[in-house]
């Protein structure tokens, strides 16, 4: 230290100092260059170009599409007001039910390889309060795991049905014949009641009025539900306004058939995920009709047509949702839309049918997405290049990657849908609209955390349902003239080989 102090003014010391400073400068320069490179890397990346594109398209949408959207929103609001006004003709709003006594119920659960659900399901059932006697009936489709063992240990009445014979209607009809009590609760293996008074609250509402044939409840998404599953449950609850306990009844069926789709769906709501039935009426109506799907909705119409009432308890619920692949949603929505529309025979003016756009956009995007790993790789140029490569007419010739695309093609063939010219911009805007839908949902539910991967999954699944729904509407509109959709095609799509 001392020597350094002595040489404080020497040239050598100054030289050393200068070279030290130079080193510092070059180090700083290196850092600046590195930062510059980083910035270049970011601005030249596809993610950045997508971001720029996203903002550009957004302003485009603001200018061109936003006024239209605003008008649409106004129309939707008007429609909602109309629905709310008309709803009063069919739906009686109630104070939330409070349990006043104990009930005896029979619980029916169809099972198939339910080993992993059984312990918690049985615990949740035995923890139900205000239940004087509970008679559990399990109807199992030849599971080879511990499903039946768990049920027997619990003291359940275990019935079996051959896997090949199983339909939702038949299994439940057989089990209902073994019910000891006057109330039968139909539920499923992968749900859990949201609280220990769920069953009793449903029973309380059922006993409010001799003419209430069934009471169902609303669903709550599981904590490990993906964004799409969450959106589905929340959207269903919101669209049908499942916020209060109520009773529905139809006095004038002719008038009812003129009502909007949403109102018809709300009035006839009966969900076998968890629903309580009065046994005498169930027997009187000969149980569930043999349908491939939607035996609950079918039963709801039998009830309403006979002049009985349907109850709904929204002050409790069941925890139930599924994380499923996109192609499942296409099949499921297609079939359920076909049946809904067929049964409800309503004209839904809220959805503009543009099958070509839905299908071709869906086809293009799903095929595109399946070839990419993350959404950040997505850019407009990529999409254009991709669309040039895969023009609609070439789809059949080219090698199709995604499962979803295969289904769309299959469905296109079965509906004889014509190709109409769709521009690339149309598809981009379509895509943008779906993203906006998700953004709106996330804005309303700020506690939901959505990663890029989650958004990506949402898009694909959303496409599945949109295409399924559009196909169903298209098929039904053609049904009278050109295409006859028969149960065989429906069954193939639902359980099918595709």
């Amino acid at each position: 230290m001392n020597t350094k102090n002595n040489d404080f003014n020497s040239t050598e010391y100054l030289k050393k100092k200068i070279s030290k400073k130079k080193k510092e400068v070059s180090k700083l320069e290196k850092e600046v260059n590195a930062k510059k490179k980083d910035i270049e890397k970011i601005t030249s990346s596809k993610a950045f170009s997508y971001w720029v594109l996203f903002n550009k398209t957004k302003s485009d949408i603001m200018r061109n599409i936003y006024p239209k959207l605003l008008l649409d929103r106004g129309k939707t609001l008007l429609r909602k007001i109309k629905v709310d006004l008309n709803a009063k003709n069919y739906i009686t709003r109630l104070e939330n039910v409070k349990v006043s006594k104990n009930y005896k119920i029979s619980v029916v659960i169809p099972t198939y390889y339910a080993e992993s659900f059984m312990p918690s399901l049985l615990k949740a059932i035995s923890a139900q309060k205000h239940i004087e006697d509970l008679d559990l009936i399990i109807i199992d489709s030849e599971s080879k795991d511990k499903t039946q063992e768990f049920a027997k240990d619990f003291g359940a009445n275990v019935l079996t049905i051959k896997q090949n014979d199983f339909t939702h209607s038949l299994a439940r009809n057989i089990a209902a014949k073994h019910a000891k009590h006057d109330l039968i609760l139909f539920t499923v293996q992968d749900e859990l009641p949201a609280e220990n008074t769920t069953f009793a609250k449903m029973a309380e509402l059922l006993y409010l009025d001799q003419n209430i044939a069934t009471v169902s409840t609303r669903q709550i998404a599981r904590p490990d539900a993906d964004i799409f599953a969450r959106w589905q449950v929340d959207n269903h609850n919101q669209a049908l306004d499942l916020n209060y306990d109520s009773i529905s009844k139809i006095n004038d069926f002719n008038k009812f058939s003129q009502e909007s789709f949403v109102l018809q769906r709300r009035v006839s709501l009966l969900d076998n995920v968890c629903a309580l039935y009065r046994k005498d009426i169930f027997t009187e109506l000969n149980g569930f009709t043999e349908v491939i799907f939607g035996e609950d909705l079918d039963y709801a119409f039998k009830v309403l047509k006979k002049g009985y009432k349907l109850g709904l308890v929204c002050s409790t619920g069941v925890i139930h949702s599924h994380n499923r692949p996109a192609h499942y949603f296409l099949k499921r929505t297609f079939v359920s839309s076909m049946l809904d529309l067929d049964l409800l025979s309503a004209v839904d003016d809220s959805i503009v049918i543009n099958p070509s756009l839905d299908l071709i956009a869906g086809l293009t995007i799903s095929e595109y997405l399946s070839s990419k790993q993350t959404l950040s790789e997505f850019s407009k140029d990529d999409l254009r290049e991709f669309m040039n490569k895969f023009k609609f007419n070439d789809f059949k010739k080219s090698e199709i990657r995604s499962e979803l695309s295969k289904l769309i093609l299959f469905s296109l063939e079965s509906t004889n849908l014509d190709n109409k010219s769709i521009s690339d911009d149309d598809i981009l805007k379509y895509y943008q609209n779906l993203l906006n839908m998700l953004d709106n949902y996330l804005k309303k539910h700020p506690q939901i955390i959505a990663s890029i991967k989650d958004r990506f999954g949402f898009l694909e699944k959303m496409l599945g349902t949109k295409i399924g729904d559009t196909l169903a509407k298209y098929c039904l509109s053609k049904q009278t003239t050109e295409v006859k959709i028969n149960t065989k095609i429906l069954k193939n799509i639902l359980f099918g080989y595709v």
Binding site: S120, K123, A127, D153, G155, N196, D224, Q447
Partner: protein, 452 residues
């Protein structure tokens, strides 16, 4: 597999259901040849704050983070602690675990999950109580009542009370303490602060609830973010799962899986015969455990052929203890048995015919209930929390309504009048999940996470 188990506190200083479960799980994992480390805190340590003490406890490696929670300066410190984060980073960099399994995060820091997540380590958490949902981890309010339905407003009000009354044990408001206290000026200042906070605080802060709502929301946001980063969340009871689902959170995978318990102590279990029917209460003598309800019910019992055995520590809550003592002095046929070592549990149950669990809080599969069922001893419990998941009334036990001593007395009398029911119920009690089975399932889940 290298497994890091993280618990808020640990044996032998802190004894509770979570600590015992963590210990049994660690022991079983180690016995199966896995490399296990336990990280925990001593929240009331007198050692240098944020030093790490390495210990051995019954063959397990324990690292204890020393800290003192009485020195917290704000609410956020109860769930974020950067000093704990620093220790954790060093710890995982040294140990390099494949799996981190949290059995509790209290006194630690929510940040641990995002730190490990950034490093790509797979993480599992078992939620044993309501700490992730509310600062009232056992859902008992400051007045000692049950906090039935979760609500933001109630949570904020409770927080306002908690923060405005200050640390209770450290500065009791009594004259004896004043005489003993050396720094009298400092003490008077604290008393003045407390009193003025109570008087002013309640009027202004109560109106100013928003401030506390913000604090509650901030905590909830951080907890929800943490839960979403976990690879697997396990609930030991359906009841907890239902309560958290209603509260609303998301995670990658969520399962319900009952805790396994050490079945070895009950291997050669036999009952000591007795002419009398022996009812028992086993637990801490604190209001939440509800011994007073049982004693009030017991007064109504008129039979010479019975006895009530009480096992537990009496000096935990002086006011409550004196009320219990006066109830006991008015009753007949009560035996005070004191405390016992955990390994003596089977011995204790060999001389018990019916266990009574009169808790007025949401129990989540408490050990005493599980051990009773392991020994096939029927239980009469409050119809509350997860109790009905274990007791199928009237098949293998009985349930009574919370705070209803008449209902409890009826249930006790039912078994006195029909003692043959005790044997019938005993036969219907289901097998309890062993820690071996639980560990087997957990390892399967760990492996699945590592594969993905």
């Amino acid at each position: 597999m290298k497994i890091l188990l993280i618990s808020h506190t640990f044996l032998p200083k802190y004894v509770g259901g979570t600590e015992v479960y963590t210990f049994e799980l660690a022991t079983e994992l180690k016995a199966q040849g896995h490399d296990v480390e336990i990280l925990c805190t001593d929240p009331l340590s007198k050692k240098k704050a944020y030093s790490l003490t390495k210990k051995k406890y019954r063959g397990l490696n324990i690292s204890v983070i020393e800290k003192n929670i009485l020195k917290y300066e704000n609410f956020e410190q109860t769930y974020f602690d950067t000093d704990v984060d620093d220790i954790f980073i060093k710890f995982i960099d040294d140990f390099n675990p494949d799996i981190i399994h949290y059995t509790h995060l209290m006194h630690l820091s929510l940040n641990l999950v995002s730190i490990a997540s950034q490093r790509g380590i797979k993480q599992v958490a078992t939620l044993n109580d309501f700490w992730m949902q509310t600062h009232l981890f056992n859902r008992v309010t400051s007045k000692g009542t049950l906090y039935k339905e979760f609500s933001r407003e109630e949570d904020a009000r409770e927080l306002s009370d908690k923060l405005n009354s200050g640390p209770r044990k450290s500065t009791p408001l009594n004259f004896a303490y004043f005489l003993k206290n050396k720094d009298k000026v400092e003490y008077l200042k604290t008393v003045f602060k407390k009193v003025s906070r109570r008087v002013l605080g309640h009027s202004t802060e109560f109106l100013n609830l928003n401030k506390y709502l913000n604090l509650i929301d901030h905590r909830s946001d951080k907890v929800r973010e943490t839960l979403s980063q976990l690879d697997l969340v396990i609930f030991p009871t359906v009841f907890l799962y239902q309560e958290f689902s209603k509260w609303g959170f998301q995670s990658k995978q969520v399962i319900i899986s009952e805790h396994g318990i050490d079945t070895s102590l009950f291997k050669k279990f036999t009952k000591e015969p007795s002419k009398k029917i022996r009812f028992a209460f086993i637990g801490a003598i604190i209001p939440a455990k509800g011994l007073d309800i049982l004693l009030k019910a017991w007064k109504k019992i008129d039979s010479s052929n019975v006895e009530l055995k009480i096992y537990g520590k009496f000096d935990l809550d002086k006011k409550y203890t004196s009320s219990i003592q006066s109830l006991i002095s008015h009753s007949k046929s009560i035996k005070l048995e004191g405390t016992f070592k955990p390994e003596e549990i089977a011995q204790v149950f060999s001389e018990v015919d019916v266990l009574v669990l009169p808790s007025r809080w949401f129990e989540n599969g408490p050990l005493v209930l599980r051990n009773s069922l392991l020994g096939k001893i029927p239980v009469i419990a409050t119809n509350l929390g997860s109790n009905p998941e274990y007791i199928n009334d009237p098949l293998n036990g009985l349930l009574f309504e919370n705070e209803d001593e008449n209902d409890l007395a009826n249930k006790i009398e039912f078994l006195i009048e029909k003692p043959e029911k005790i044997k019938e119920m005993s036969k219907k009690i289901l097998k309890q999940k062993s820690i071996k089975q639980d560990t087997f399932n957990l390892l399967y889940n760990y492996q699945n996470l590592l594969k993905s």
